[in-house]
């Protein structure tokens, strides 16, 4: 059982360590050398070179981080200051006016609720469908499974604009027009294929002895899946959930096509600011900041899991 336990522990803290290309973790001083791999191979040796590289990195970070910081600064400017010529980087006078304006507009708070609702429903739907499917594909290696995972991959190549409009009219004929459910289903068409691929990679790393031991102990196959395998891949499920959530949270095209007043998500509201209220840049930047900050914080908290999913997601599709 030692192997299983190790897998279990690894799955808990870093799914990448279990399956697929691993992203090295810092590890508290313990050098985790792989077989024949000298990790220091590409690292720069000389101090002067390193200093130069650090300066280069700092410059890149400033350039890269600046646009979002500028958005944040702009959101605290007074409306006149926002469109001043020439523009200034920092606000002359810090104000929360834009936030009050943006959040006070009718429909904005409701759109946040819609966004959260849609993302949660779509994440759950994605997991409920993807977890058993991926398990069926990887555990049993049947021909149908192989065909199915290929089909799922092909689905990821479908341009949303191609299915968006027929999908919207389908939802309307099902009586689901302008509901978070309809949009969640649409978002699941995007996140399900990726979820199946991610979950397959995580299941691949689970040794079969695990369920075999459980079935010997009298568990049914479903029971073994539920009680033994699922807890082992819980880290992988978390990664998959984050990706499904982010996909829905940031999605725009389906939201534009499938929502009207009742179920509009915040990205659509942000885009509408342009046309409905002239160019109120202050409020737009404030709303954009409010919408971005929760996910940025989430990312910083869960970065290791996200890196794991990102690399797996890329390799697997």
């Amino acid at each position: 059982m030692r192997v299983a336990e190790r897998i279990k522990n690894d799955a808990g803290k870093s799914p990448a360590a279990v399956a697929g290309p691993s992203v090295p973790t810092t590890g508290s001083g313990s050098v985790r050398k792989r077989r024949g791999v000298n990790r220091e191979g590409l690292e720069a040796g000389r101090r002067s070179t390193r200093t130069l590289l650090w300066i280069l990195l700092a410059a890149a970070m400033v350039l890269y981080g600046f646009p979002f910081l500028y958005l944040l600064f702009t959101s605290f400017k007074t409306p006149i200051d926002t469109i001043a010529v020439p523009p200034t980087i920092l606000p002359k006078e810090w104000t929360l006016e834009n936030y009050a304006n943006a959040l006070g507009r009718s429909g904005v708070v409701a759109s946040f609720i819609n966004s959260i609702q849609t993302a949660i429903i779509s994440t759950l739907l994605s997991l409920v469908l993807a977890v058993p499917a991926a398990y069926g594909i990887t555990r049993y290696q049947t021909l149908s499974g192989r065909i199915f995972i290929m089909a799922a991959l092909v689905t990821r190549m479908v341009p949303p604009v191609a299915i968006g409009i027929p999908l919207a009219s389908m939802m309307a004929s099902m009586g689901l027009a302008d509901t978070p459910i309809a949009l969640s289903i649409a978002h699941t068409t995007i996140s399900l294929p990726l979820s199946i691929w991610l979950m397959s990679s995580f299941f691949e790393a689970v040794p079969r002895d695990l369920e075999e031991a459980a079935t010997v102990d009298g568990c049914s196959r479903l029971g073994a899946l539920w009680r033994v395998v699922i807890p082992v891949v819980s880290g992988g499920i978390a990664v998959t959930a984050i990706f499904a959530f982010l996909a829905s949270w940031n999605e725009f095209l389906f939201a534009l096509l499938m929502t009207a007043i009742r179920s509009q998500t915040t990205p659509v509201v942000i885009a509408n600011f342009q046309t409905q209220f002239g160019l109120d840049w202050g409020s737009m930047t404030a709303l954009a900041a409010v919408y971005s900050i929760p996910v940025i914080l989430l990312t910083l908290l869960l970065q290791r899991k996200i890196v794991a999913g990102m690399t797996l997601g890329a390799v697997k599709g």
């Binding site: 697929g20 590289l53 990195l57 523009p87 191609a162 399900l192 691949e204 990205p267 996910v295």
Partner: protein, 295 residues
């Protein structure tokens, strides 16, 4: 009596397969079917079978061929630049080693930002009159006038400008994937090359890049497919303008359907677009991915 393994596997896959059949395959079928009809934009309006007429119209229209080339150009711009930048950053992180970990995390943040927000943000940076980029370039002495470059209003350069948010958003993705690939290059190999007197450029082009080839191929294909579907960032920046100079395929199809109310023509365009994407995907899948096997 226990059911067979095959049945059990099928039972596990059925819900997801049904979902994809109903909500992806069926709409796609409707799209293809619609492409053979002339459809009134009003719901419940007339619907006449016109055969391949919509396809002929698509190929005859300059908007369609133009959008095709622009989509290709846009994809090349985005993928090339973000690959170059992503590789540079990945090498930088690798050579700095473990101590750069925090910065790798920080570098990831744009990945979490909605494309619509990124498009809006860069529009604000590049807009005529009060855009910060023009002003900064002017203050640095590069431009004689802050408005000298009409980032989003000059048809000749707008396709490059609208690509910037996409590049900004996804360079980190490229960087992460390449970084992971770099970690798997055995250090001994690098040491040996160094002992043989290989300098940095030779090391990069003769050893590192060839070893990274599979990872690079996957990253380019994944990002290429995503870039070819770009919609949000362009819509919010220019809405395809000026003079359609930034109208890519997704935008054209969307506008043909919604603005110009021609579902039949839009469906034909959508079908062609889909076929092109699937062709690329098929080639990529059969050469790079081997599904079911661990890579």
């Amino acid at each position: 009596m226990r059911i067979s393994d095959r049945r059990f596997a099928l039972f596990l896959m059925t819900p997801a397969a049904l979902f994809l059949a109903v909500f992806v395959a069926f709409p796609l079928f409707r799209l293809v079917a619609d492409s053979f009809f002339k459809i009134s934009p009003i719901a419940g309006g007339p619907r006449d079978f016109v055969g391949l007429d919509n396809y002929f119209r698509a190929f005859a229209s300059e908007a369609f061929t133009g959008a095709g080339w622009r989509t290709l150009g846009y994809t090349l711009i985005v993928v090339t630049l973000e690959f170059a930048l992503g590789l540079g950053m990945a090498l930088l992180f690798t050579t700095l080693g473990r101590s750069s970990q925090i910065w790798r995390t920080v570098f990831m943040y744009p990945l979490m930002i909605a494309p619509i927000v990124a498009g809006l943000l860069w529009k604000f940076l590049m807009i005529d009159n009060f855009g910060l980029i023009g002003t900064l370039l002017h203050q640095a002495g590069i431009l004689s006038n802050p408005n000298q470059i009409g980032w989003l209003s000059d048809p000749n350069i707008v396709l490059y400008s609208v690509a910037i948010p996409d590049i900004w958003l996804t360079t980190s993705f490229m960087c992460l994937v390449l970084f992971a690939g770099l970690q798997n290059i055995p250090g001994d190999l690098i040491e040996a090359a160094r002992l043989d007197g290989a300098r940095a450029p030779a090391l990069l082009f003769r050893i590192i890049l060839p070893l990274l080839r599979p990872v690079i191929a996957v990253a380019l294909v994944v990002r290429g497919i995503d870039a070819a579907r770009a919609f949000d960032t362009i819509l919010i920046q220019t809405n395809g303008g000026p003079q359609s100079a930034s109208e890519t395929m997704s935008l054209l199809i969307y506008r043909t359907m919604i603005r110009f109310g021609d579902p039949g023509l839009a469906s034909a365009m959508g079908t062609l677009y889909l076929l092109a994407m699937l062709a690329v995907a098929f080639v990529a899948v059969s050469t790079i991915w081997r599904p079911g096997k661990d890579s």
